[in-house]
C-alpha cells in the first residue's frame, strides 16, 4: 500500500491542539514509491499524496486515516481535537491465551498513536463551522466499542449545543466483539444523541468509505440527512463471506459497492476524493442559508416586539 506514519503519538496525546498539515508533510519522505493495491501501478510518493492517495492509473481510492481525512477537509489550523484521552477498558474480562483485549488495545495504540478508532473535534471548512468524527479503519478494523460510541455521541451533542452540522466519516467492520453487548448498545447510544441534533435542525452528513459494515452501517451512518460514499467503497450490513456462506454461491463483484447502493436508492451521491472538500463545502453552505434565514426571522420578530 503506502508509507505510514507511526510516530505522531506524542503529538496526539497533547490534545486539544490545532491540527496542521505541515506536521505530516515534514514526516513523509517524498523520495519513495508506492504501489497501487488494486492495479500494481508504481507512483512517486509525492504525486500519490498530491492525488490524495488515489491511484492516477486506475482511480482506486486507498484507505486513509482519520487524521488524513481531517487534513483534506478542515481549513488549515481549524481542527481542535476533543476527547482524545478516552481509552477502552476490558469490560468483559476478555483474557484468553489467543486473545487478550487489553494487550491488543495497548499494542494497537502504540502502533497507531491514537487511543481508539474515532478521531473527533471541531473544525471549519471555508470558514463554516462543523463537528467531525472520523474512523480510522487501521485501529482494530474500525470496530465500534464504548469509546467509539461515546466519542460520536459527544460529537453529535456538541454540534447540537453549538448549533452546527455534524460530519461523520465511516469505515468500520462492525461492533467490537471484545465489548459484547456494550458494543451493540453503542448503536442505540448514538441514535439517541442524534435526536438532539434533529431538534435544533442541524444536518448530519455521513460519508461512507471503504469498508463500512455491520453495526456502524446499521445505525447512524445509514440514516444521515445526506449520505455520500467514495467510488468503489464496499458497504453493507452483512459481510460478503457471511452472505456467500448463507446462499452458497459467489456474489458478483459490483454487489455492495457504493455504486450498487446508489442504484438501489440507499445513498445520495458517489463522490471522488478529489471533489470531497468542494462537495461538503457546498452542502454546508446549502444548510447554512436555511439556518440564517430562520435566525433572521426570529430577530425580526424580536425587534418588532
Amino acid at each position: 500500500m503506502t508509507v505510514e506514519v507511526h510516530d505522531l503519538k506524542d503529538f496526539f496525546r497533547r490534545a486539544p491542539l490545532p491540527f496542521t498539515s505541515s506536521r505530516r508533510e515534514q514526516q513523509i519522505p517524498d523520495n519513495v514509491w508506492t504501489k497501487c493495491a488494486n492495479c500494481g501501478e508504481l507512483t512517486y510518493q509525492k504525486q500519490f499524496n498530491d492525488a490524495l492517495k488515489v491511484c492516477p492509473k486506475c482511480g482506486y481510492h486507498s484507505r486513509i486515516s482519520s487524521r488524513e481525512w481531517i487534513e483534506i477537509l478542515a481549513d488549515a489550523d481549524s481542527f481542535v481535537e476533543h476527547d482524545a484521552d478516552l481509552q477502552g477498558i476490558d469490560i468483559l474480562g476478555f483474557v484468553s491465551p489467543k486473545d487478550n483485549y487489553e494487550a491488543k488495545l495497548a499494542a494497537t495504540s502504540e502502533r497507531t498513536g491514537t487511543n481508539d478508532v474515532v478521531m473527533s473535534g471541531s473544525a471549519s471548512l471555508e470558514g463554516l463551522p462543523f463537528e467531525i468524527a472520523a474512523c480510522n479503519f487501521d485501529f482494530m478494523g474500525g470496530s465500534m466499542g464504548s469509546v467509539f460510541g461515546e466519542k460520536v455521541a459527544r460529537t453529535v451533542e456538541r454540534a447540537a449545543d453549538r448549533g452546527v452540522p455534524v460530519l461523520t466519516i465511516n469505515a468500520s467492520g462492525g461492533a467490537r466483539m471484545h465489548e459484547g453487548i456494550f458494543a451493540l448498545m453503542q448503536m442505540a447510544k448514538v441514535s439517541v444523541a442524534l435526536t438532539r441534533l434533529a431538534r435544533v435542525r442541524q444536518p448530519h452528513i455521513s460519508l461512507l468509505v471503504d469498508p463500512c459494515y455491520g453495526g456502524v452501517s446499521a445505525s447512524y451512518a445509514s440514516v444521515a440527512d445526506i449520505i455520500l460514499a467514495e467510488p468503489g467503497a464496499n458497504i453493507g450490513f452483512a459481510g460478503r463471506r457471511v452472505i456467500e456462506q448463507t446462499i452458497r454461491q459467489k456474489l458478483p463483484p459490483h454487489f455492495q459497492t457504493a455504486e450498487f447502493f446508489l442504484e438501489h436508492g440507499m445513498i445520495d451521491a458517489v463522490v471522488p476524493r478529489s471533489d470531497m472538500r468542494a462537495t461538503i463545502g457546498r452542502l454546508l453552505r446549502l444548510y447554512e442559508r436555511t439556518t440564517s434565514s430562520a435566525d433572521h426571522r426570529e430577530h425580526v420578530v424580536a425587534g418588532h416586539q
Binding site: 476527547d83 484521552d85 478516552l86 481509552q87 477502552g88 477498558i89 469490560i91 468483559l92 476478555f94 484468553s96 489467543k98 486473545d99 466499542g145 464504548s146 469509546v147 460510541g149 461515546e150 455521541a153 461492533a175 466483539m177 471484545h178 465489548e179 459484547g180 453487548i181 456494550f182 458494543a183 451493540l184 448498545m185 453503542q186 448503536m187 442505540a188 447510544k189 441514535s191 439517541v192 444523541a193 442524534l194 435526536t195 455491520g214 453495526g215 452501517s217 446499521a218 445505525s219 447512524y220 451512518a221 445509514s222 440514516v223 458497504i235 453493507g236 450490513f237 452483512a238 457471511v242 452472505i243 448463507t246 446462499i247 456474489l251 454487489f255 455492495q256 438501489h264 436508492g265 440507499m266
Partner: protein
C-alpha cells in the same frame, strides 16, 4: 430461582433455542384480549419473521411487535427461522408510527438469531431498515417495553429493542453476535461457540449485572417450555406492571429517562479516571 441457574451459558443458548420454547404468538394468544394482526410494510411485502398487531391488555390498547420462529420445518421456511428482511423491520416501523398516532404503549418480544444476510436483504437496505428503527425508537413518544423471550441476536434484535425497559426471561440470551459468529470473528473457528458464549457474557444474569437488562423474569423448573401457561402468566404480570409504571410518567420524563438510559451505556477510561457507567 430454579436449579437451572447453575447452567453454563452454552446450555442457556440451547434452552433459548429449544423448538418447544414458547414464541411470540404463544404469548399473544393468551395475553391479548383481541389481537388484530397488521401485515405488510406497504412497500415491498409482508415479512412473517416478524408478527405485528394491535390488541388490548386489561382494556388498554397496545401495539405488539415480535420475532416469530416456526415450530416445524414448514413454518420455519415461511417465517425464515425468525430472521427478518428489511420489509419486516419496515412493517415494525409502520406499527411504531401507528402506536405513536394512537398513543398506544409498544410491547416488543425479541427472539431472533439476527437479521437475514442475503443479496435481497442488502439490495433493499437491511442496514438502513435497522438504523431507521433505532433512530425512530430513540424518541418515539409512547412507552416501549422490550422482552427477550428466547434469543436476542445483534442488530436484528436491537431493531425492535430500543426501549424504556428491557426485560429478559431467566434463560434468554442477548448478544452482539451469535456465539457461532462471535467464535468465527474472534478466533476464526465457529466450533468454539460454547467458549464464545461464555466469554461474551450473554446471559440474562450478565446483562442484569451490567445494568442493561432491567428485570429478569424467572422461568419454570426446566425452562419456559416445561410450563407454558406459567411463563406466559409471569410475562403478562411483568408487562402489566411496566405499562402502568411508564404510563404514569409525563412525556418529558419518559423521553429524558430513555435518553439517559442509552446515553450512559459504555465503559471506558478518561485521563486516568476510570469511568464506570451503565
Amino acid at each position: 430461582m430454579t436449579t437451572l441457574t447453575e447452567l453454563l451459558p452454552w446450555d442457556k443458548v440451547q434452552i433459548a433455542r429449544n423448538p418447544q420454547r414458547p414464541r411470540t404468538l404463544d404469548y399473544i394468544r393468551v395475553l391479548c384480549e383481541d389481537f388484530f394482526e397488521l401485515r405488510g410494510d406497504r412497500h415491498h411485502g409482508d415479512d412473517q419473521a416478524l408478527v405485528c398487531g394491535i390488541s388490548k391488555i386489561d382494556g388498554r390498547s397496545v401495539a405488539i411487535i415480535g420475532h416469530q420462529k416456526g415450530s416445524d420445518t414448514k413454518e420455519n421456511v415461511r417465517r425464515n427461522f425468525g430472521s427478518p428482511h428489511p420489509e419486516g423491520y419496515r412493517k415494525a416501523l409502520r406499527v411504531m408510527e401507528h402506536a405513536k398516532k394512537f398513543n398506544m404503549p409498544i410491547l416488543t418480544l425479541i427472539d431472533t438469531a439476527g437479521a437475514h444476510p442475503s443479496m435481497a436483504a442488502e439490495e433493499r437496505g437491511q442496514a438502513e431498515a435497522i438504523a431507521r428503527n433505532l433512530l425512530v425508537m430513540a424518541d418515539l413518544p409512547v412507552p416501549i417495553i422490550a422482552t427477550v423471550i428466547g434469543e436476542g441476536g445483534s442488530g436484528g434484535a436491537l431493531a425492535i429493542g430500543v426501549a424504556d425497559r428491557l426485560l429478559m426471561l431467566e434463560h434468554a440470551v442477548y448478544s452482539v453476535a451469535s456465539p457461532e459468529a462471535s467464535a468465527a470473528i474472534l478466533w476464526r473457528d465457529s466450533s468454539k461457540a460454547s467458549e464464545a458464549a461464555k466469554a461474551m457474557k450473554i446471559t440474562a444474569q450478565d446483562l442484569h449485572s451490567f445494568g442493561i437488562a432491567d428485570l429478569i423474569i424467572p422461568e419454570p423448573e426446566g425452562g419456559a417450555h416445561m410450563d407454558v401457561p406459567a411463563i406466559v402468566h409471569a410475562v403478562g404480570n411483568a408487562l402489566r406492571e411496566q405499562i402502568s409504571t411508564l404510563s404514569a410518567l409525563t412525556l418529558d420524563q419518559l423521553l429524558d429517562q430513555r435518553y439517559a438510559k442509552y446515553r450512559a451505556i459504555g465503559r471506558f477510561r478518561q485521563a486516568q479516571t476510570e469511568i464506570v457507567e451503565a
